[in-house]
């Protein structure tokens, strides 16, 4: 259930060092950080909004736009890289018709990359929402997003 920012804030003591945890909670709740919610956070923590902005734009975890239902994070760790992550990225981009950092126009998919998810034994791998999908091949990618094609066809 989506809470109001006030509800979220009630779990915190409201000091400056709460900034990152509060932003994490806000994002968890709303899916992203809107300017309105960042202003609320600034007011709650008594931090200038420019500082909230500076922090929010610094960390890759924070998103300033809504994301798709399926949030795909491609691991760009070394193991994944040498085991073909760039190729996997190409394949996902082709399949979903979006490039890294974008969200599909129907709001179903967002594609981002992440430094390393620490599942190097399974390289190359991606994270879809919370689930790790490892040992990917272009073929497996195709299979993972099969429903995408089906839906597109339904639309047609």
């Amino acid at each position: 259930m989506i809470k109001s920012t006030a509800d979220i804030f009630s779990d915190f003591k409201g000091t400056e060092d709460d900034l990152i945890p509060v932003l994490q909670k806000v994002q968890e709740n709303f899916g992203y950080l809107s300017q309105k919610s960042m202003m609320d956070v600034g007011r709650f923590l008594r931090i200038p909004t420019s500082k909230v902005w500076a922090t929010a734009t610094f960390y890759t975890q924070f998103r300033l736009k809504p994301i798709g239902e399926k949030h795909i994070m491609l691991c760009r760790g070394t193991a994944c890289h040498v085991k073909g992550a760039p190729r996997i990225l190409d394949e996902i981009e082709l399949k979903l018709g979006i490039t890294e950092g974008e969200t599909s126009s129907d709001g179903k998919y967002s594609l981002e990359s992440v430094a390393c998810i620490g599942a190097c034994g399974l390289a190359p791998c991606i994270l879809i929402n919370e689930d790790v999908k490892g040992r990917l091949t272009p073929k497996l990618v195709n299979k993972l997003f099969e429903d995408k094609e089906r839906r597109d066809q339904d639309v047609e």
Binding site: E16, A79, V114, G118
Partner: protein, 615 residues
């Protein structure tokens, strides 16, 4: 070398099911549920215990199931295998003989016991001892191994000064990367005036290709917490933070559980074990910034700011979190403390080399037969790890290079395989221990592309504060992009070297100071590959898209039309049953056709050169 297992007495059969991230994503949760069900149905619940454990380290082979006390090792377990495993656990059951036993990567033969597996039997698992043997969500398991005894010993039998002294004599060096002697920080914090001090565990394991901190937190969180509590007692702190990446949700969850359980047992909180020492631990989730592994950036991050490092001095031990003396060490460093307290500095100093004591833990990944987490005594050679434990390169391909230390480290060639693995030797070779990533690459990896990859990483992760790093990494990336695209010139190599040295010396923090290392070491050891890219416009690994082309061999093409369908840019023409042709002008070198062409035809070839050479 004999491997050590955890100290839990197992009267009955126990099934240890790995619940590390690797195995979970390979389906070990389902295995666990199904095995419990099967055992119940077979009426074996009394005799057989099923335990969820942390990472066994051999992530490559997950999901892993180990059966104790026999030490049976099942790998790549599928739900279909579960009934067989369950039946084998009955009093009259016999160990399985084929699937799902582990098959040796070299010989292909099945191996029944883990202590016969070369991946395990050449390791010295000290810090990792509990990982894979206890349920990390059950403090009782940890206590059964003698856990928290060292805390009792530290609190009641040792003075803070004695602890620092013990750490000093042990020779322990920070396992976060730089290998700074741990005791110096401890002593500085202990001597710093004031009673508001902090202990921070740096679990911001951001190196791409390293995941051993994660494994420890997921598999044995209490060992880290205990190290922190002892550190807090030694330096006079009352508060600790574990700074862990948000990308590690499982580690966070297990830490939360562990802290909660330890608090209930009186190991954390007010008046620990009824002593007059109080210490609390909080988890801080990082939000995605590699640079926060740098200690001053990490502090800024906890304070709610951008993770931008600041110049040192003052060091965190003098002025850290909120300007107070702060001890920051890596996960592995804290995990070692209990051994030093329990078994003494002399025991610890007995492991490793003259200058580097104890064990080193690596995440062994890449083009390697046995990838996973390995723990070895300091001083063992790269060759022993890669070939002895790792089982060499799969498919018998030749070894090309090993990258250690992630974006801060370097690439070492075959000639250096006999380099001992310790802080100083790796540094002398131009690389570093870093946080313990060890990525093996073979001939299919382009060294220039690999260097470009690391610089790209550094560019994206640079905090942007100081000019050398912010602009320099980007400049190097531009040059490397030109080289991999065939637009490089020979003088670019000089520029890379000169820039690299300037960036190393000019940057504010460790990220910038080490960011050029992957380029500088590859220029040192693999210069000819750069020259090939520049002069011959050739990528010998056939990785760099602009330096290769695909061609359909007329003699093998059957006109099956598979490639024309997959080509995203309609660059392949040809009527059905006619020989197809790739329009090189349109081709984007995605390689889809190459992959999709049925192996029985193998009609598409990947060749050097950006275009088909005219005869």
């Amino acid at each position: 070398m004999k491997i050590r297992r955890g100290g839990i007495r197992m009267s009955n059969k126990t099934c240890l099911i790995c619940q590390g991230t690797g195995c979970v994503s390979a389906g070990s949760r389902e295995i666990h549920a199904s095995l419990e069900k099967e055992i119940e149905q077979l009426g074996l619940s009394k005799d057989v215990k099923v335990k969820r454990t942390g990472c066994h380290g051999f992530c490559e082979q997950g999901p892993l199931v180990v059966v104790e006390p026999e030490g049976l090792f099942y790998a790549g377990v599928k739900v279909d295998d579960v009934p067989d495993i369950a039946r084998s656990l009955s009093p009259q059951g016999e160990p399985l003989e084929e699937k799902p036993l582990y098959h040796d990567s070299a010989t292909g033969n099945p191996i029944t016991h883990y202590h016969d597996i070369s991946f395990y039997n050449k390791q010295q698992r000290t810090v990792l001892q509990n990982c894979g043997n206890i349920d990390p969500e059950e403090i009782g398991d940890y206590l059964a191994t003698g856990g928290y005894q060292s805390l009792r010993k530290a609190l009641f039998e040792m003075s803070p000064g004695q602890i620092v002294d013990e750490v000093k004599r042990s020779g322990l060096r920070g396992l976060g990367g730089a290998g700074f002697p741990t005791w110096i920080k401890w002593e500085a914090c202990q001597r710093a005036p004031g009673d508001e001090k902090y202990v921070i565990c740096n679990a911001d394991e951001g190196d791409p290709g390293a995941f051993q901190d994660r494994s420890i937190l997921e598999g044995d969180p209490h060992s880290v917490l205990k190290g922190m509590i002892i550190a807090g007692y030694a330096i006079g702190a009352r508060k600790g933070y574990v700074y862990v990446r948000a990308e590690y949700p499982l580690a966070i969850k297990r830490l939360e559980i562990a802290i909660d359980q330890a608090r209930k047992k009186g190991f954390i909180g007010k008046s620990i074990l009824d002593s007059n020492f109080s210490f609390d631990i909080e988890i801080f989730q990082g939000a995605g910034a590699f640079v926060c592994g740098e200690e001053t950036a990490l502090l800024a991050s906890i304070e709610g700011k951008r993770g931008m490092p600041r110049p040192r001095p003052p060091f965190p031990a003098q002025s850290g979190l909120w300007g107070k003396p702060t001890l920051i060490s890596n996960v592995k460093t804290y995990a070692n403390i209990r051994w030093i307290v329990n078994k003494g500095a002399d025991w610890f100093a007995g492991i490793g080399t003259e200058g580097c004591k104890g064990t080193a833990i690596f995440s062994l990944t890449g083009k390697i037969a046995n990838s996973g987490i390995v723990e070895v005594p300091m001083g063992i050679t790269l060759r022993e790890i890669i070939y002895g434990i790792g089982g060499g390169i799969p498919g018998g391909k030749p070894f090309k290079a090993v990258q250690t230390g992630g974006p801060s480290g370097g690439c070492l060639p075959a000639e250096l395989l006999d380099t001992p693995v310790d802080f100083d030797s790796l540094k002398a070779a131009g690389s570093m221990m870093g946080s313990g990533g060890m990525v093996v690459v073979d001939e299919d990896t382009c060294i220039v592309d690999l260097a470009r990859y690391f610089v790209d990483f550094a560019t994206k992760e640079s905090c942007g504060e100081c000019a050398p790093c912010r602009l320099g990494t980007n400049q190097m990336l531009d040059i490397l992009n030109d080289i991999v695209e065939g637009k490089g010139e020979m003088e670019d190599i000089d520029i890379l070297e000169s820039l690299g040295m300037g960036i190393k010396k000019g940057s504010l923090c460790g990220l910038g100071q080490t960011a050029p290392n992957p380029v500088l070491t590859t220029l040192k050891y693999f210069r000819e590959e750069y020259e090939e890219h520049i002069i011959e416009k050739k990528c010998r690994a056939k990785v760099c898209k602009d330096l290769i082309h695909f061609i359909i061999m007329p003699d093998r093409c059957t006109g099956c039309h598979i490639c024309t369908k997959v080509c995203p840019v309609n660059a392949i023409s040809g009527d059905p049953k006619q020989i197809h042709e790739i329009d090189q002008e349109l081709c984007i070198k995605c390689g889809l056709c190459f992959e999709k062409c049925p192996p029985k035809f193998g009609a598409i070839e990947k060749n050097y050169g950006s275009k088909v050479m005219e005869d």
